[in-house]
Symmetry: C2
């Protein structure tokens, strides 16, 4: 297991962690400057942040600073109610792939979608099995486009509390079943983004990490689970402030050969998003060394 | 599959559903009167409600109305940090068993506990595997006491969002593994309380219901999952108001031979707990017929 205590060369910042400080959007190019100033070598930006900054301007800034991506957030949202929406999803995912290529991302992270309409508060139906079949079909189609571009796809299993509205792939086992079905030869083109917030509770976690192996462990995200958690989406904790045994799980992942970045992704409306962005980044560096 | 549309003979009310209306506790004996007035034949009361009403007074009222229990809520909370706390948990669980016997409950429902201290906001450690081992030991010990009293134990897998603070048994598969370990002969002494709020999302749900079989399906709880869900604990929905395909899952359970009550358990601080209790019960009856 790598020693993180002496430096933060394997720290990546998911830019949602500092996307809005004191309620004001922190522009992506400024976030990149702040990361560079702290010797942070990698980020994972969100598409809306990139769109606001400009794709080419983002690519130039990354190059200027020598910052690389640990992933690109995000494609997915494969579920649909009609052919037009399916096509719109496919088109949008292709654009996400192209952006990921421009930014030289190692993978496109997929949040697969839940019941159609549920995220807007009104699910079109209750057929989660049907939604799951649409997701598998959508990933299958996107995988062809991704292979053409030599871009890897990383399915992110989301916590079961998001099954209805954000992602109906909710366990590592389920995500790996999709990988087995669509990439039976384990070419590495399709794998997982393992976010500890979503999977830490899973009694089969160690077994599934072994099953994934190095070929399918494409990204590793950290934050912490707070007790109490006061909001389903935006009350994630900083590493060390919660109950997840992060080093234990990192050891499992690294035992499989994972040697990439540890990406910090924290949505925290009432705490970390209310602080100075530089302070948040400094804390990420410190906690990366002491708690990851 | 039984037809629920013509009557509500298989409706049970978990009394937490109407425990506090407009912020005021509704006394259990009054709840029982209101259930009897509506022809509701079963309830599942909570220990604190029984304690407030008096155990013998509750037993008499149930007998007077001819209301039976679909379960008794609840035993469990097996995790501990020291021998004194372990003993306190054991003693308390024995008392719960005795109360369940006095009330002629078919089973004692077990919410097994999470990381010690987490429910109070300060987890003593991050070793969820260790907590899970304590839970298995605790159930094993209680099972002896339960067998002596001819009282069944029903492990309730709780949604993974409660893994830290309420219950570290979070899937049906995990609960059934405990059953297999402690009651390999499938005597029926140990089984599951299947609450759809906790398990609806599970991609292996149908498979695990089949695995449980009639011997281990001891209780069936319903409510609904709202989108959005605004609170992790107290924003459950009334059947029909959310995304759970309740009839589909009831069909799976009944295909295994389950023929017991469908127990409504809704914690809803900002909606159902703010209404007149009689109106809530009337709605439960109506939705039981139309949406379960």
């Amino acid at each position: 297991m790598r020693d993180f205590s002496q430096d933060h060369r394997w720290l990546s910042i998911n830019t949602a962690t500092v996307r809005q400080q004191h309620g004001v959007d922190w522009p992506l190019l400024d976030i990149l400057d702040a990361c560079a100033a702290r010797g942070i070598r990698a980020v994972s930006p969100w598409r809306d942040q990139v769109a606001a900054a400009g794709l080419q301007a983002t690519a130039r800034k990354l190059q200027d600073h020598g910052i690389e991506l640990s992933g690109y957030c995000r494609g997915g949202m494969f579920t649909y109610t009609d052919a037009a929406r399916r096509q719109a999803s496919r088109d949008d995912n292709k654009r996400a792939l192209d952006e990921a290529c421009t930014l030289n991302a190692p993978c496109l992270v997929l949040v697969v979608g839940g019941l159609p309409g549920a995220l807007a508060g009104r699910a079109a139906h209750r057929d989660i099995q049907g939604a799951r079949e649409q997701v598998t079909e959508g990933i299958a189609a996107l995988l062809e486009d991704a292979r053409e571009r030599h871009m890897l796809l990383a399915i992110e299993p989301l916590h079961p509390m998001y099954a209805a509205d954000r992602a109906c792939i909710n366990t590592m086992a389920q995500a790996l079943d999709v990988c087995d079905a669509l990439d039976p030869d384990r070419t590495g083109a399709l794998g997982l983004a393992v976010d500890l917030y979503h999977v830490w509770w899973d009694p089969t976690l160690a077994e599934q990490i072994t099953r994934a192996g190095t070929a399918r462990l494409l990204a590793f995200h950290v934050c912490d689970w707070l007790t109490p958690t006061t909001h389903l989406l935006e009350d994630r904790g900083m590493m060390g402030d919660g109950v997840i045994d992060i080093p234990r799980i990192r050891a499992l992942v690294e035992a499989q050969g994972f040697a990439g970045y540890s990406e910090v992704e924290i949505f925290s409306r009432s705490n970390w998003w209310q602080r100075d962005g530089g302070q948040v980044l400094d804390t990420c560096v410190e906690r990366h060394r002491s708690c990851v």
